[in-house]
Amino acid sequence: MEVSEKRKKKAQQSATLWQVSLRLFLLLALDGFVIWFTLGAFAEGYAQLGIVVALIGGASNYIILSRDLYPLRWMLVGLIFMAMFAIWPIILTVFVAFTNYGDGHLVTKPQSIELFLQERYLPEGGSAYTWTGYINENDEYALWLQNEAGESYLAYPGQTLISGAEAEGLGELDENGIPASVADYKRLNALQVASNQTISETQFGSELDGVRIRSAREASQLEPKYEYDKEQDTLLDVETGTVYMANQGTWTAKNGATLPFGFRASVGLDNFTRFFKSSALSGPLLHIISWNFIFAFLSVFMTFSLGLIIAYIYNDRTLPGRKIIQSFLLIPYTIPSLITIIIWRGMFNNEVGVINRVLESLFHIAPAWTVEPNLAKLAILIVNLWLGYPYFMLVTSGALQAIPEDLYEAASIDGANAFQKFFRITLPMLLVSVGPLLVASFVYNFNNFNLIFLFIEGGPPIPNSPTRAGYTDILISYVYNFAFASGRSKEYGLGSAITIIIFIIVAVITLFQFKYTRMWEEVGENA
């Protein structure tokens, strides 16, 4: 007895020793990674990310080392992932909503200035060369340049100029000192040059000593196009003499002209007020918001109604084959919804879809499901009904069985008919238990991106909308267009602003749901 006690104690001690060393090792590994990652983030210019990772790393150390926070150690990994990939993206969304982040505003201000300072232009005057062109078998070009001082250079695209004296592989020189060939490049004659477009569009030399052809004889050194004035915080276009000022992330001249790209900057509430100022933007947005609510409400109403009707009809245990019917009716629920949405997309195809082929042979009509806005909406609701009713069938059939039989018996004695029983007993009792699920379903459908996107990609498009918007777009698919639709300019700032509007709507509905649920719990406790 005593021996076993001792052994147990010893086992416990060694376990703790093992645990301590393991913990120490994990801590060191974590800290090493966090420090390395933070440094990397700062080196890349992602200061925000660096700070966030460092904060999460610090908090993790505290949780691991503090005796009081022992319970949190159990959930440390989960907390780290939650902080990084659930909480931080929400905060980041809020940040981005107040900036102009998007195409033309992707880089930081120093990066933007740096990019402009690298731009070169072909000046009217400036140091000039006479030039001779060469071509190799791969249709690559080279230039032989001579200036007035008699110095010569060899120029390839993207390479620093090579002094003629140091150049290798030169062929025989003619009376002007021009080689007949350079390595595997052959000299072009005047006729070939005159008929050649490419050579006059090519920039020879590196970024710093670029050379371009100005005329049939002359080539010229390129010069920096922009100068940055630190004190005034302006960019001067040397070629035109225009001065550009930094205005909310856009380089703007006095006459209103802007440079092709700017930088990320805070624009305050601009993203939110743009919709009120511009009727072209607010028109589609209002349509999208109202359809979003109608779509979510009708989806919940229709799926719940059909689910309830089915559950009510087949709740009868004496019905033969009840189990088989329920299994068949459950099938839509068992297929990944993405797949079935695309199947329905094929079935609703205007020209060759099965639905129109059947309608055509029976009634000689072929509705334009994907072209007519209202028909597209109807099709979406039908598909969502198919996708959603089995869930409510399951949930309500469980809830129906929980309603005590005596209630119905008492009602029968009082002379209530079936209709009264359903609306006075069944429905109120159901709504108490299924109510929170209805709210949850509303929130789910409110953001049902998959259905809208996979079925019809938001189409048919709303004409004359300045951004891509369709008649069946809901807010979340509209946001997707801002950020990820191909061939469109990206507007991450504006997209994030709309995301925040969705956040607020969802939060209000959920708050309502929490209140409702708590009320429901209290009712349960009192009973």
Partner: protein
Amino acid sequence: MLKNLSFKQRIWVGHGIRWLIALVLIFFAIFPVLWVISASLNPSNSLASAQLIPDHIGFDNYKYLFETPQYPFPIWLWNSIKISTITTLLSVSITVLAAYPFSRLRFKGRQTMLKMILLIQVFPGLLAMIAMFTLITQFGAIVPALGLDTHAGLIMVYLGGAMGVNIWLMKGFFDTIPRDIDESAMVDGASHWQIFTQLLLPLMRPILVVIALLTFIGTYGDFILARILLKSTEQYPLMVGLFIFTGGEFSKKWGAFAAGALIGALPIMTIYLLLQDQIVGGLTQGAVKG
């Protein structure tokens, strides 16, 4: 009319009507499925010539799926299974570990944290898609293996939602195991870790399986995050891959899509039909609690 029938006959008329309604409903429920099965077996491969009962039956569409390099279907299927399995294992481990202290330990801020987790869960990951994209782009600049177009980056984003979804459900099941069990073990000198691994985990196994399956199904069916974060066709999971078929002339690739859809749906349908009762139980309980 009905009044002339006997009680028994009236019951059978009722059954008959309900069976008729059921047939209409079942037709609505399974028509798309039948349609896809027939399309996948119809060698003509186009929507226009699709019939419910094809003239010829052949497996050309299935062969096409496995032999066309433009649509690397087997790779998509493998990617889906790989991503979903890894996410499920990690996610369930994270959640079950996190649920233990919420059920068994009493500490300051326990209630607040539970509520906070619920609140964060309210915002689905896809809402913050622009931020996710930015974040993973930045991760990729520092650690390319975790950046855009990597499965690791996508899995990390999925794990961000792991805590929220199932922790309440899991805590609820821990709560149903009587505390006497662990208290008596504690008297014998067992540590929390020993109680967790040797006593509670074996008792939790059935519900862990159900939660794991639900997580698997959820990850398998994700579209939007995978589409945003993965760029190259070889990295796509099945759902994003199948969407490619809708581009261009969808109606001409209908047969191949149908075959792919069936193969893709099969694992999930099997899980549901085998474990129907358990999943429904877990679903309704979790939903009502949430």
